[in-house]
Symmetry: C2
DNA sequence: GTGGGCCGTTAGTTGACACTTACGTAAGGA
DNA sequence: TCCTTACGTAAGTGTCAACTAACGGCCCAC
């Protein structure tokens, strides 16, 4: 997981993953979409492959790449662990609490409209 | 999201998030659990707070920190996007295809067992 | 075998970042 | 007021990672 999160920390690499998410592309095709040189992209591809986020397939002289979503399982579980049902409920409760505090009297939409008209006095 | 993913790319910072995931801790209490110096931890806390992953609350001379899961929403959605139902189906299809290609004749498990016994010759 | 695409790899440079020591600051008790 | 506690901040250093230019290795057509 350490390698996966470091791999997607780089914007170019995230963009590469988006490119090959649902189609196979060659190294050259991928490189042609970036401003950096082809070797730089090649190094990014190596990092992504070593992190288990990319599949490589050789066809003649070309190398075709495709995203490998299973490589992100660990990281996804880490993040989702911070988003458990309990926390989701806590967050919703906090938001409702905040809304109640901001507008303690308003009940219908008419009140809101009046407020908007008054607030136009900038 | 860029700042969030760079923030959790550092192992110490991921550990900090785990520590304050469901309880509030002071900067000093957090620092005491690491080998690095207190200023180093303080810098990590700043990075996490600036990335929106941490809430800070002052109480007297102490500063209390707690995880803020909403800060990871974007990143979670990015990762979960690679795990959609469609891709899951594509993955299964690809694996079945590969299995068919690898063992076009084998039908039962007997063949596999024989292979294992032969491979024990290390 | 030879020439031309397609790519990965190496060497070297530059910038980012994690860390340490030293210092500054705010709150609170003696 | 003075000291202590609990922090953050500044300055400086070493390491790692992203990039470029130059080079080397396959694979195929001829």
């Amino acid at each position: 997981m350490d390698s996966a999160v470091r791999a997607i920390a780089e914007p170019h690499r995230r963009e590469i993953l988006r490119l090959v998410r649902d189609r196979e592309l060659s190294a050259g095709e991928i490189a042609s979409r970036f401003d950096v040189t082809r070797p730089a992209v090649s190094q990014h591809l190596t990092v992504l492959r070593d992190a288990g986020l990319l599949n490589e397939r050789r066809e003649g002289t070309r190398r075709l790449y495709r995203a490998r979503p299973e490589g992100m399982t660990e990281l996804r579980e880490f993040l989702n662990g911070f988003w458990s049902d309990r926390l989701k409920r806590l967050k919703l409760a906090a938001e409702l609490e905040q809304q109640r505090r901001k507008s303690p009297k308003r009940r219908s939409e008419k009140g809101a409209k009046r407020r908007n008209r008054r607030d136009r006095r900038t």
